[in-house]
């Protein structure tokens, strides 16, 4: 293609040609250039949209179709129309509602402390520090750890008998907590895994935003006699508001997806039901159990759509809260 490339879009024919032929070739060639300029951007972004269409959007719509059919893992190619049976089946299942509540609760007790700690940590990292890159890398190491590894180590830490946490706690006289089997303690354990993995990452995102706050804002505040705490609250936090909203959205979506942590918390076969009392069963676990363990893909697809509905609900709440915050700031 690029072997014979004269001056691009040149109005005059290339040297060496003669008569009408190069003139004709010139317009032909300039038309090719135009086509190249017109089509290239679309060609460059096409791979993304092709991949997303084939493996993102199409399956998303297809999920809706499956949710209205009976599809079994054992015979994937046969399906039977059942209307809204799958939806009534899961909506009448108390385990589904347990999973919804669990997902929501774990989402809150993992996201809120995580983002607060990340904010504080970012504040610390924003000081002039010796070996600042070292500290940043250290707090980011959990991010390099896979869900599976993190969940398995914490499974040992939270173990009822012989767990390292209970051993530490027995020094203050409360060393007999059965973390995995408790209604709340199991949720706390899962949240700790999430908090451990993501706090450093969020702290770096906040740090980046903090460093983008113009220095003169702080100077102006300190001239007005603002204490450091006041500066943090009145200058740093408002400047970070878009970033904070962004991390809230991302963390919320992330907590909707919790799967590896509950699956591996207690090891063995308890994971696929989210504990013996479903005490830490999340929606992803419920979906997995229905579709892959029990082999009923129809209800599993219905669960996926229920998750979509929940996400939209959360997005709506986020929007309202965000608007409220902006209004109260103004």
């Amino acid at each position: 293609m690029a072997t014979t490339t004269p001056t691009r879009g040149a109005p005059t024919p290339p040297a060496g040609g003669s008569g009408a032929v190069p003139n004709g070739r010139g317009t032909w060639r300039s038309r090719l250039w135009r086509l190249d300029d017109l089509a290239s951007p679309y060609a460059y972004i096409a791979p993304f949209f092709l991949v997303f269409g084939a493996f993102g959007l199409y399956p998303l719509l297809y999920t809706g179709w499956i949710a209205l059919h009976r599809v079994e893992m054992t015979s994937l190619s046969t399906s039977e129309w059942v209307g809204f049976d799958n939806f009534t089946k899961i909506l009448q299942d108390s385990e589904f509602w347990t999973a919804v509540t669990n997902t929501f609760l774990i989402g809150v007790i993992s996201t809120v402390p995580q983002l607060l700690v990340a904010l504080g940590l970012a504040h610390l990292l924003n000081y002039k520090l010796r070996a600042s890159t070292f500290w940043r890398t250290v707090v980011l190491t959990p991010y390099a750890t896979s869900v599976a590894t993190a969940a398995l180590v914490f499974a040992l830490v939270f173990r009822a008998d012989g767990g390292i946490l209970n051993w530490v706690l027995h020094f203050v006289g409360i060393g007999n907590t059965d973390w995995g089997n408790g209604e709340w303690t199991s949720k706390i354990a899962i949240s700790v895994i999430v908090i451990w993995r993501w706090t450093g990452y969020n702290a770096l995102i906040y740090l980046a935003a903090m460093q983008a706050v113009p220095t003169d804002l702080y100077e102006a505040a300190s001239i007005d006699g603002a204490t450091r705490w006041q500066q943090f609250r009145k200058v740093t936090i408002p400047s970070l508001r878009p970033t904070i909203l962004f991390t809230i959205v991302i963390s919320t979506i992330g907590s909707m997806q919790l799967f590896g942590e509950p699956l591996l918390l207690q090891g063995g076969t308890l994971g696929s039901t989210g504990g013996n009392e479903h005490q830490y069963e999340t929606l992803s676990i419920y979906l997995y159990n229905y579709g892959w363990k029990l082999g009923h893909l129809g209800p599993a697809a219905a669960v996926a759509w229920a998750m979509l509905a929940l996400l939209l609900l959360i997005a709506l709440i986020n929007l309202i809260v965000g608007r409220f915050l902006r209004k109260s700031a103004a």
Binding site: R8, Y44, F48, A208, G260
Partner: protein, 306 residues
């Protein structure tokens, strides 16, 4: 965080009226500027605590992987590495087919990283520097796809993969993640500033076709960001769990899937599981030790306009 208490650590910030001597005023300005505050001993103390919290679980993976199960679950638990590391690693290796899992993980992460780098740079360049109809709307669409969790489409995805003969194969894990929205956004942000229009124009005047411009101008300019994106993508692909766990079969797993299966067996031996965890984490930790600075920089750069 206690270092921020205004009364005892920051003399320049006590509520003295602003009509102080110029010298004093300068001190105050210096302290007031967020970036210039020096960390005191309490700051370092807090960072050490957080740092230890970040590192300890990984250290304890090593400890647990180097004892036998009985010792691991003993009270008090072991806090120093023992002598069984090698034999535990070997057992884990044999039990969970880790050899094959490692090869699979390398193939999957390698393919995803290479494809992501190429396609995301192309798309990022188009969004950053080329003019075309619908650019703004399409970029918004790219960002919007970030909010769709994979859970919503795994059921049909599984059926599709079985249908086209990729069921249980690595293709089923590689293809859905060939090019991601984050990468497109990341490369766009970088190229917006790193690639001057003059360079592109100059190449055009020289008669270069668009694909030639990509090859000779864009790719060299994008190289630093591609390094970072490559590492971030590799980490993510290597650690991916949900979809690979559903899609891959027991005899053809990635490392993470093998690890999950090892733990989900009926009576897992904890120190063997930890040895497997160690094997799956070490390569990434090495990457982190060597390229930590770039990865940190990459995450922060990607965040600024996020």
């Amino acid at each position: 965080m206690t270092t921020t208490s205004p009364t005892n650590t920051a003399p320049g910030l006590d509520p003295v009226p602003p009509v102080a001597s110029p010298a004093r005023n300068r001190v105050r300005l210096k302290l007031g500027a967020g970036q210039q505050l020096k960390g005191g001993p309490l700051t370092y103390l807090a960072l050490v605590v957080v740092g230890l919290g970040s590192i300890f679980p990984l250290y304890w993976t090593l400890v647990a992987a180097s004892h036998d199960q009985q010792r691991v679950l003993d009270s008090p638990p072991p806090l120093l590495p023992g002598g069984r590391l090698w034999s535990n690693l070997q057992t884990a290796w044999d039990q969970a087919h880790l050899g094959k899992a490692i090869v699979n993980s390398v193939i999957v992460s390698g393919c995803i990283t290479a494809a992501t780098l190429f396609f995301c740079t192309l798309a990022g360049y188009a969004f950053a520097k080329m003019r075309f109809r619908g650019r703004g709307a399409l970029m918004t669409a790219v960002i919007a796809t970030l909010t769709i969790p994979p859970q919503l489409s795994v059921v049909p995805l599984f059926m599709m993969m079985a249908d086209i003969g990729w069921g249980g194969k690595l293709e089923s894990v590689i293809f859905p993640t060939l090019v991601g929205a984050f990468g497109v956004f990341f490369m766009r942000q970088y190229l917006l500033e790193a690639l001057p229009y003059e360079l592109i124009e100059a190449a055009k005047v020289d008669g270069a076709t668009n694909i030639r411009i990509v090859w000779n101008v864009v790719l060299p300019a994008a190289r630093p960001a591609m390094m970072v994106l490559g590492m971030l993508t590799f980490v993510q692909a290597w650690n991916d769990f949900f979809w690979p766990f559903l899609a891959l079969s027991q005899d053809n797993p990635t490392l993470q899937v093998a690890l999950g299966q090892l733990s989900a067996s009926y009576t897992p031996d904890q120190s063997i599981v930890m040895a497997g965890a160690l094997i799956s984490t070490l390569p990434l930790l090495l990457v982190f030790v060597v390229f930590g600075k770039q990865i940190v920089g990459g995450i922060m750069a990607g965040a600024v306009k996020g």
